[in-house]
Symmetry: C2
Subunit: 386 residues, 2 copies
């Protein structure tokens, strides 16, 4: 097991009507809030009104940043930073899914950063020295951003989508009310489930030996997705299914699975290159790329891990190459059963662009820890996924 520091400081308020504790949590950090949200679904479903009524009760001043895109743009971050400076914002409140939260986190760090915020993504995590406190109200299970220090932002001009990571970016509190996900449409519910699975798999496939406990926990979270994913699609208002998926999404990427081992993240890097070029939904890209990555890296050297996966997650028995391949096939079938696309072509990607995307994916050098991938490897995976 590798050394690690575990400091998962986010307070989670989980359950129905936990929003009632919103003001109490905000007031620990200030009384001037930047409310960050997306395309307006929070208005349609009444959450916006609830938040505004609550904030008014405690005379919390509220400035709004609406319109955060599903792949949040660096321009929106810049606008947010300016709003924070103009209005002396003390707390950011992100209401939405991962994109909204990621945008709020980047604003929070950008306020304290002297250059253009896109530089944070180019210079790297060490450029982050301070950040405004962020609170979140989650409306979509998937990214796990509500309990971690990661943020992914897109630069349309350069067709790049990069991530930053810092403990300073962990939300101070996150309100997880599973009923807020009752109205999430099937495609987004499914994309969220694939995103959770992908986060687990990126950490499960690791070069570190003796990560037994982390691996058993990962298998437990995967089984939860496999069990409740179809239930949530069939019965969108099934509280337990929504609750289990929501909590699993937070646990999948808060450090629990990755601390103590090296983790891969090649599939995410490739998907970011795809969605930077085509603005596809992250989960849809991952559904196509994950099995393609698995097929590419399966070899006699990596066989053991694939066999464990096939046996412990999918209940297959036997230790042959065929069983390992069946495990990958099961993954594909599961994603397809959720209504996910099976190829990049079906996502509208042009074959001519694959090379460019491979180049973007290795901007900072080779990717992947379970298996190192260079540009040619990435191109082969993209072709396999096409």
């Amino acid at each position: 097991m590798d050394d690690f520091t575990y400091a998962v400081s986010t307070k989670i308020l989980f359950g129905r009507n936990k929003i009632e504790q919103l003001n109490e949590e905000i007031e620990k950090y200030g009384d001037t809030v930047l409310l960050v949200y997306g395309g307006g679904s929070i208005k349609k479903h009444g959450i916006y009104e609830t938040v505004m009524n609550l904030l008014a009760k405690s005379d919390i001043e509220c400035v709004e940043l609406p319109g955060v895109q599903p792949n949040p743009r660096i321009e929106t971050v810049r606008t947010g930073i300016q709003l924070c400076k103009d209005h002396e914002i003390e707390v950011l409140l992100a209401v939405g899914g991962g994109s909204v939260i990621d945008c709020a986190k980047t604003i929070a760090a950008g306020v304290y950063y002297d250059g253009d915020p896109w530089n944070l993504f180019l210079v790297g995590d060490s450029a982050i020295r301070a950040a405004l406190p962020v609170g979140t109200i989650l409306t979509l299970a998937g990214t796990g951003s509500e309990m971690n220090g990661n943020a992914v932002i897109m630069n349309e001009a350069t067709q790049q989508k990069f991530a930053i990571h810092h403990d300073l970016l962990r939300p101070k509190f996150s309100i997880l009310d599973p009923t807020y996900t009752f109205t999430v449409p099937p495609e987004h519910t499914a994309a969220g489930i694939v995103d959770i699975c992908s986060h687990i798999l990126e950490q499960y496939f690791s070069p570190t030996k003796d990560s037994f406990v982390q691996d058993r926990l990962a298998e437990g979270l995967l089984k939860t997705c496999i069990h409740y994913g179809p239930v949530a699609l069939r019965e969108p208002t099934n509280y337990d299914a929504r609750a289990q998926l929501m909590w699993t999404s937070s646990l999948a990427l808060n450090g629990l699975l990755g601390y103590g081992k090296a983790t891969d993240w090649a599939t995410h890097a490739i998907e970011h290159a795809v969605s930077a070029a085509y603005d596809v939904t992250h989960g849809l890209g991952l559904a196509v790329l994950t099995p393609a990555w698995m097929e590419y890296v399966l070899s006699t050297q990596t066989m053991d891990r694939f066999l464990e996966y096939a046996q412990n997650v999918w209940g297959l028995s036997g230790s042959t190459d065929t069983v390992a391949r069946q495990g990958i096939e099961k993954t594909k079938e599961f994603f397809n059963s959720l209504g996910m696309p099976s190829s990049l072509q079906k996502l509208g990607v042009s074959e001519q662009k694959l090379k460019d995307m491979a180049t973007v994916a290795v901007t900072f050098g080779s990717i992947g820890k379970f298996q190192k991938l260079n540009k040619n490897d990435v191109l082969a995976i993209l072709k396999n996924a096409y």
Copy 2:
């Protein structure tokens, strides 16, 4: 799934030589330390010297409270509180296993409590309003006290051993260096493993339906104990076995398994009554009482949970009463294979005392959430374990 608030604030520094970060962590809270430790094994193995040398480097003033008992006594807590007041202590540093940490936590709360600290255990958790910051250096895996807000203290005069729980008692930081457990003797290593298993089982056996993810995580932690327990006994200096058990002990009782569901804790209440009367090692008592409790509460109503346990933890197949009993038998065999005793008699308990212990176990009323137990139930379990 039940509602919950997750705020596991303890920072874990995990790995070899993490003690080098001790001063940095202490200085966040003050520079006058009460060093709490036990019977001197930390002197024998050099940890005491390392700590003292480190503290001296930063001119951190250090007052000592040695001699904390394996079942820590309320008298020691009283002495500690007086030391804190006399020396204006700002931080408590517990170096040892769960007993030492529990003692330090109770001192931390007792400093701010107006009455005798034993009243905290009688009045209940709401009596805790403030606590000094506690840091820990763990030398024995088992209680999980290094990452939670629980403390168990014994009152010899009244033959009682009770627990308090409060988020204010969570250590601010805990240093987990698996090499510190290399010298733990086999009996204590085994007792620690049983303690971890018991913590997991107390939360696994629950009346809450739809705790799927919590249950899969619990099974993963149990499998880790079953896998690495024998390794740690056979090869005491096997880093990975010690590391996996150490981290599992923290995860088993930091909230991860219990948040979102009702948890049982009847076996712990009964064991506390036994060890209050006989000062037996907690893990040894649990090794005897856990299977006895399982046998007593197994019924057609509780069968499903026992079958899941037999299948998912022990890999048994089938859904009959026999399979459920085999799961219990496997538990017994596992504990015995670690060298644990198989009856209260072998622990030196007198049959005449069983009734008194049953009375103490239900001091605050009936116990257990998976199945409610009154005094007669407890007595039946004690007799079964005898």
